[in-house]
Amino acid sequence: MAKIKKSPRPQAEIPTASMSDIAFLLLIFFIVSTVFVKGKVIKVAMPKAESIDKIPRSHAVTLYVDKVGNITVDDYSIQIPQVEMVMIKKLQQDFNMITCFRTDRETSYGVMADIMNQLRKANALRVSFEAKRKL
């Protein structure tokens, strides 16, 4: 009896030639879409808290207040009496604006109270005190 020879099965292979294309595509996507936070002039050590919520970035206007009481908005340094005017302008651009305080832990509360009074005058009533999550 003649033996029927089994034909060898073709080896299954995953084509990996385009793997590098995929990897480079992803890499380039991440490189292009990454935005680096610019180094701020003002140095702020934020307080820590537990009951913190996420702030929607699209409506946030960040007010930097450092230890000594220097105030910065959009990289412009301003004085306390100017806060009202700046916030009125910001409120015109976005009605749902939230003022985010990036205030140093050691700032005296008096400065903050004065700023908040200015915010009230400007009718910018939604505020958020930025903090880091307490571990």
Partner: protein, 135 residues
């Protein structure tokens, strides 16, 4: 006499490890990228006082005064309370009377951090009606 020319060997760059390189870079960027999320303690400030503002008198039972002095000591209704016990105390008060308004009065010379710590505890205790003031 014509001799058949020898074919030159093609010079090739090995691309097999290209995907390894790309993935390595990709994973490096993925793991080192840190998103700058904004987290904070949200609060809505009261509207500015005008001549038309109607003053509402609060009953004494519905008002809790919390004072923070410049050293960070916290006083609740005439008794000094350590920060660790504040949440428990306020939580009991708010449960007993859901209309409780908490007035957080911070000394102008007190650190911002002290105010945030107390505000955090108040929010953890479930207090919703919080009013900030200063002397």
């Amino acid at each position: 006499m014509l001799r058949p020319r020898k074919k030159r060997a093609m010079g090739g760059i090995p691309t097999a490890s290209m995907s390894d390189v790309a993935f390595l870079l990709l994973i490096f960027f993925l793991s080192t990228t840190k998103f700058d999320m904004k987290y904070g303690l949200g609060l809505v400030l009261p509207a500015p006082t005008t001549e038309e503002t109607v003053k509402v008198k609060l009953k004494d039972d519905n008002l809790t005064k919390i004072l923070i002095n410049k050293d960070g000591l916290v006083q609740v209704n005439e008794s000094i309370v350590p920060l660790e016990q504040l949440q428990e105390k306020i939580s009991a008060m708010v449960k007993k009377n859901p209309d409780m308004v908490i007035m957080l009065k911070t000394d102008r010379q007190s650190n911002y951090n002290n105010m945030i710590n107390v505000l955090d505890q108040l929010r953890l205790a479930g207090a919703e009606k919080i009013n900030l003031s200063t002397n």
